[in-house]
């Protein structure tokens, strides 16, 4: 039995990220509450970031470690400040609705988050495909 490769993990997380994103897009406009979009959008962001970390052979254990690991990629020139800022903004929105008391998600912030998710997903998908070839379902 062979062990999972970083390639398999990178493809797994980017595929799952797209599933979260598509679920968010299906929900968009269907409810006055935008918090579910933030949750799905943030999970898509985290999975995309983890996919890139696997592809760059720098995997991390746990969502809390994703942001510092991504900041380290920026310092190494392997990711851009813009990508890190979008990831951080997503985490800030998730923190806002998850930790703070009775704070709703702003619809404009949610729209901006989903636009950022789309940008990150495309960037990470393209980088993974450049490294490992086409990804099934994307």
């Amino acid at each position: 039995m062979s062990a999972y490769s970083f390639e398999a993990a990178a493809k797994y997380y980017i595929q799952r990220a797209w599933v979260h994103f598509r679920a968010a897009r299906r929900l968009q406009g269907g409810s006055e509450r935008t918090e579910p979009l933030v949750v799905l959008g943030h999970h898509a962001m985290m999975d995309a970031a983890r996919a890139l970390l696997f592809a760059l052979e720098a995997p991390v254990d746990g969502c809390e470690k994703v942001l510092p690991a991504f900041a380290a990629l920026v310092a190494e020139g392997k990711a851009t400040e813009e990508m890190h800022s979008m990831l951080h903004e997503s985490a800030s929105l998730f923190f806002k609705i998850h930790r703070r008391s009775m704070i709703p998600a702003d619809p404009r912030e949610t729209e901006s988050l989903l636009n950022n998710v789309r940008t990150i997903l495309r960037e990470v998908r393209d980088r993974i495909e450049q490294r490992y070839g086409l990804i099934e379902g994307l």
């Binding site: 809390e64 942001l67 510092p68 800022s85 923190f95 806002k96 930790r99 008391s101």
Partner: protein, 110 residues
């Protein structure tokens, strides 16, 4: 608070003072694992100003090696939320970053 978090908090307070001036009422921070949670209370904080703070936090995180999360409030809104759990926690456990203490317990935005 460890040196990385203390440096991130010092720069946060400096940037927030520069950005909001006398409207800045309180800055308090708690270290949580790899994160630094910074509560910010500002008179008449606009949504656009709040949104821009996310980018500021991202830059601080990259510079200091600690993930900074801002929890921004308008003074009036903070007064309403003062009895709620997260806000109580930040007031009780948070380290103040403003010289001369804080006045977020007082009425603001008269």
């Amino acid at each position: 608070m460890d040196a990385e978090a203390a440096a991130a908090l010092d720069e946060s307070a400096e940037l927030l003072l520069k950005r909001f001036g006398e409207r800045l009422r309180d800055v308090r921070a708690v270290r949580e694992g790899g994160s630094l949670v910074v509560m910010v209370v500002v008179d008449d904080l606009a949504e656009r100003e709040e949104h821009r703070l996310y980018n500021v936090a991202a830059g601080l995180s990259r510079r200091h090696g600690v993930t900074v999360f801002f929890a921004p409030y308008s003074t009036h809104d903070f007064a309403r939320r003062r009895p709620l759990p997260f806000e109580v926690y930040m007031m009780e456990e948070g380290e103040s970053a403003l010289a001369g203490g804080t006045d977020s317990n007082e009425e603001g935005e008269a």
